[in-house]
Symmetry: C2
Subunit: 459 residues, 2 copies
């Protein structure tokens, strides 16, 4: 039986698979910082070459931002589009990394071996599970199990400005029966998950402008307005005492959780104390009246992801700054309208400004929340295939994060996405010392072989 | 008559005086940043040499921080201690400077020539007015007009950590009849001022700690507490809607302004619109019920001088940071107790923390407000001497800034301070493009010759 031979090949090839992943992890493809544009191109070119060695027709497709990688192969069975991203988050604060973020290494831990590097889990390690599964399949079978299209982007961590135009311009080439996306996590180390509810994301950077220059707080302190004070007052007004967000219309389109979904989630026995305890916290801080899991999977949030203004160096400087800044993001659920929420946010700020202050804004393309069709046969087949590989049966899960590509695939290409990933809660993505379990990489690759087999009815 | 000869000498020597000032301005003596320790020593050594060329017995006196400069000369008349500081503020944001901050240049403006450089007004240009007056006196008269001690420090812009121990250890050497301090401003371009009410200053840096690492806002957003949100709520609670500070006990020791002082200040015809309009503002933003001048000179403030946390680079990063920070300072008046206020601030923060958050603090030595004896004969003599030099009569003024040295001189050395300076409101001290009017430098030097003459009864 061919699947077993493919799985055996994956096992035998693991050292070489790791070498290839490490090569990719060494490339400093930070997409949000223009200083790293060249490494982003380097990562794209490296992936094009890898895909060609597997026998795919691969090319780098330049955009106004970082390039896409597109590849095609196979001519029978269902048409599957696999998506991943080769760009990574910035690495600051660098001093908290115990080893350089772009020098990947295997580390022994009480939970087994891990691969430590920026991007190991988000998303280079994950996308390489699919590439390595495909490589093993082609080596063993001499062909692909389905009609395969691959799309890698390099701007996922910086708002994907080129993605929607690229999907629209290349819709005929990219449209498939189903998208496969590997950018999510497992329920726990032994329980694979298919993510079927995703929160949306809307982000806005706001700058409060006051005086036309920085002022001395002795000479001007009192009569001169301080934009930091204005900003803190505005931001502090975004939540009420119960943790609800105060923007007018914010909860329009937020639905109560259906009882059967709530029952399924309660059955997962999510341990909020353990989840929070792992990062040094103890008390769910979100909206009152909702469990921690509901807060993550089914409730919207408003967070300040960054704030700065005035003197932030060593020592003290008695300055009244001319400007103060914040980066604010909203996680969205249900049918919340991202653009309406950003408008409400802007209106709230504009209406909260005292005399002599103005506000300016910069946003990235927002995305709404997504619900996927868990009753479709592909979802059942994939779930059963994952159950074959792992100790515990696979679950349909929510996801607190946002994967805007899922909405774009549905709206522009008319296809649903099967979100299968092998990240763990403790992977520290977006944080110092990001890691990916070696087991996630190895069994993740095996999982994709099984899922491809199931979707193409090869087993 | 000797004074006129001294004044003539100052006029003739102006080009050479400027050359010397420019040399000092080129030294990057930023005291708050440890990277600039060597230039601070360089500035001290240069001053020692300058004072020796005038005939003073000068030496560099090392401290655990940046060195002091001490010099003595003369053996008759009153004993006067002149104080200034050779250190300067940081120069960020550097991109707003129209020329490099440590390359001084004369610039033509509608108000006359100005000297543009970091430290030109605060305080290198000011301290050199006294040095140049002394130099001219010695050249013309062959002696000093009084018994002179000079003290220059290099940590004024970074909290003066070495100052109090140095004053205590060298009290017998430094104690004089009166201190002369040149670190303040004129009332306007034509009206010299002696500052007789100074606000105190207490500063605290606060860090709010939450999770033990930066978190992904998709994975943790909701149940995980965001320290930026905690910080903004705490800072927003420091003022009520009328601009009053809410800390318990904050207004203890704040007195109403005596009617005669209020009448004198009203007589100055301070133009709040012009004062604020010069920096792009229009509306006094301080405590309701007080004029802008009262807000600056006689009312306490609480300001956030810096705030930072999370991702502050380009683009967006959906992080929930582990920490958030602010630098907060209080300007104090009357008999407010700086230590009691910092304790109240810490208590307020500690009592405002939600579960899982802690706060840590770092402060610098605070100072209370100061009232000087305007009825003493030295104050009258100095005021009359200044009136001789300038178009308008000199005034006794308040000062929104803090000059902690005045309190230390009184407490440790038992002497009052005569605060005479030639800065202008538009000097942009602590800001980009700091300048000092050439007229302030020239007539400031002449003013010191006149004040020295008056205080020593030489005219």
């Amino acid at each position: 039986m061919s699947l077993q031979a493919v799985l055996d090949r994956i096992d035998a090839e693991l050292p070489q698979s790791l070498d290839r992943l490490f090569h990719l992890l060494r490339i400093e493809s930070i997409s949000t910082d223009p200083a790293y544009a060249t490494p982003c191109v380097e990562a794209a070119d490296w992936l094009v070459n890898q895909l060609r060695t597997i026998g795919l027709d691969a090319s780098r497709r330049d955009t106004p931002g970082h390039p896409m990688v597109v590849a095609h192969g196979g001519d029978k069975g269902p048409h599957l589009l696999f998506y991943g991203h080769y760009d990574v988050q910035p690495v600051d604060p660098l001093e908290l990394w115990t080893a350089p973020p772009f020098e990947p290494a295997i580390r022994e831990t009480p939970n087994g071996k891990t691969i430590v590097a920026r991007g190991s889990s988000d998303d280079k390690g994950q996308l390489m599970t699919f590439v390595e599964a495909l490589r093993a399949w082609k080596t063993v079978e001499g062909d692909f199990p389905a009609r395969i299209t691959i799309l890698f982007e390099g701007e996922e961590e910086s708002g994907s400005p080129s993605l929607v135009p690229f999907l629209k311009e290349n819709a005929d080439e990219l449209r498939a029966d189903l998208a496969l996306v590997c950018d999510t996590g497992m329920w726990d180390q032994n329980t694979p998950a298919i993510s079927t509810m995703l929160r949306g994301l809307a982000s806005e950077e706001v700058t409060i402008h006051a005086a036309d220059r920085d002022l001395h707080s002795g000479m001007y302190g009192g009569p001169a307005i301080n934009p930091i004070r204005v900003l803190t007052r505005i931001l502090a007004g975004l939540h009420d005492d119960t943790g609800r967000i105060t923007l007018p219309g914010f909860y329009d389109g937020v639905h109560d959780l259906p009882p059967e979904i709530k029952a399924q989630w309660d059955g997962l026995n999510f341990d909020a104390s353990e989840f929070l305890g792992a990062v040094g916290l103890s008390t769910p801080a979100g909206e009152q009246g909702y469990s921690a899991l509901e807060q993550i999977w089914s409730r919207p949030t408003c967070e300040v992801n960054g704030i700065w203004g005035g003197y932030t160096g060593k020592g003290f400087k008695t300055v009244l700054p001319a400007e103060a800044h914040a980066k604010v993001s909203f996680r969205l659920v249900g049918d919340q309208d991202p653009n309406a929420i950003l408008e409400s946010f802007r209106n709230y700020i504009e209406s909260s400004l005292p005399p002599d202050c103005t506000a300016s804004f910069a946003r990235k393309e927002p995305s709404g929340a997504t619900m996927l069709p868990v009753d479709a046969p592909e979802f059942t087949k994939a779930r059963d295939a994952l159950t074959e590989e792992w100790p515990n049966p696979a679950v349909f899960a929510g996801c607190g994060g946002s994967i805007p590509i899922v909405g774009h695939f549905r709206e522009i290409l008319g296809m649903d996405s099967l979100l299968i990933g092998f990240g763990q809660d403790d992977d520290a993505i977006h944080s110092p010392n990001e890691k990916y379990d070696l087991r996630s990489f190895h069994k993740g690759t095996r999982s994709w072989a099984r899922v491809l087999s199931a979707l193409s009815d090869q087993n």
